[in-house]
Amino acid sequence: MKDREEIAERLATCGYIADAELATAISLMQRLRRPLLLEGEAGVGKTEVAKALAFLHGTELIRLQCYEGLDQSSALYEWNYQRQLLAIQAHHGGDADAIEDRIFSEKYLLERPLLAAIRRDKPPVLLIDEIDRADDEFEAFLLELLSDFQVSIPELGTIKATSIPHVVLTSNATRELSDALRRRCLYHYVDYPDVDREARIIMARIDGASASLSLQIARMVESIRKEELRKVPGVAETLDWAAALVGLDVHDLHDVPELVHETLMCLLKTHEDRTRLNREVAERLLGKVA
């Protein structure tokens, strides 16, 4: 397929370096019109995929951040109660039916992300972030929406989708998702990138990062990931670290072992990991980086 390489290329122009499999997943998304479920450790760039996808299609990104207790009124739609009340007061003594028709019209409807996503003229990218944090009930409701792409509002009637959005779901696996949802989606496991890809990511994202430095950083991070850590650094942390090193005007890691050890705080986020990767270990790892 030609479109696969094309997708990878176009993603690269917006700063997202995709592996070949992800490009396949994205081309399948369009072909089969299925949502894409991304799983992976925190900080490997799941959310970035959606952003890059929006750029790729030249369309809007609508994001729904899930949390425990997320319900319809903050995900789908809500009536604007305050304005409705004002309208009732203003038309006090008028015809009751007329008032009712008036206050339950589009004008008083607050669009939330899910409703907004199906009412655009051009299909947007709908990012449902950290779906595992939402409750089971919400997941079931989402499943219904994703299969029918229509919403029924009791006071207003059924609203059909004007365009089918490109849906991306991400999960950190804090909760097991239902089989039904998993089956509906294409699945892609986002892994930590290999050295080569990580170096390319650094170069694409950090201005002033030279090829040799990026490669050194990527190699170093890779060996740090192999240590037994409580919290393995993700790509986001790598980028932080690279930005720090570039900002400190470092050109070669071997020149400044001291600084390397000190700036490791960008990568290691718990006390335990910090003590485990002490000066000696850091130097040993640095020694292995060519």
């Binding site: 089969l32 305050q82 089956r183």
Partner: protein, 401 residues
Amino acid sequence: MSCCGTTPSHDELDEVSRLVSTKLAAFLRTLRDNGFAVGLAEGRDAAALMAQGFAARPPLLRSAFKHLFSARRSDWDKFDGIFDAFWLGKRVRSRSLAIGSAKAANNPSLKSLQDKNLAKGGGQSATDQIPSDNDAPGGGGEGRMEGASAAENLAEVDFRKLADPDQVEQAHEAAARLAKAMRTRLTRRDLLRRRGYRLDLRRTIHRNISHGGVPISLVKRRRKDKPLRLIVLLDASGSMSMYTAVFLRFIHGVLDEFREAEAFLFHTRLAHVSDAMKEKDAGRALDRLSLLAQGAGGGTKIGESLRTFNRWHAPRVIHSRSCVMIVSDGYETGDAKLLGREMATLGRRCRRIVWLNPMMAWEGYAPEARGIKAALPHVDLYAPANTLKSLAALEPYLAKL
């Protein structure tokens, strides 16, 4: 194809597509055998992809199918192997139930727990767990004649002394019933305990629109109660073989009835078995488990299994209202210090750790094994669980959590 002139090439084409779809169907079956949740819609999409030219390029087809059929990390990891074995004829190391299901037939399986006649089949590996009938050659015929009171007597009998297949069956059923009863009562108590509220202003306004906005009826918000989640880690090593069968049945009941429960099996490594156990039919569930339980025989590495659990599963399965139940005799063949350390980590994460040790009720047993000694300081409840009665005694404790 009868309408337009049936050229031979058309027929050939048809033949080819039929072959392909048969092969695809077989592949879907293979995937299902390997625990993939694949439905009709996926099959249709797969066929569409093949027709669109993906079939000509195997690596691309593999990647496409991988996204389509996988639903979780474990699927994702094993997909390539299955695909290669099926379509490209490469040998694959993992024991996929693949093409012929003849293998399944002579595969020693836990299902033999049910099939009494099969009970003597299979010697080593997973079938360690079968309560062997040969243990008590004299006692074979006794249990059958006991009649109505048998169930009560069973409550006090140590599981390892159950010899008669009928008795075993009864014990299994009792364990399943017990799990069910525990669940019902636990939830009921849960409802009674709810209290505390705060005002939900937004909904109050909404509710009172019909009163012209005067807040007459108030809407309150209460904290959503998390149901108690039970996580069971079952030791399936050789030393526990007399007990595993009953506990597996108990766990099957628990998973079926508790709204939230997870189960893991460990011997020298850890296996997540919730999916296999959620099979409605107990026999089939145990059958699937036999595949997962393979690899036993080299002692018990509790510490290492716990480490795997803490590293890969704990963040997902443990929440603030979780109780971890470890069923093991504590005979650690690995590093006892590691076990202590991992128990401490686990203790920080969950609300309660219950350790059930069937050996505890044996006469003259003292927790001398290194493993259990290292683990005990971190355990909240250390109880015997060798009879149905002692299993039932757990319920009040769990209800208080």
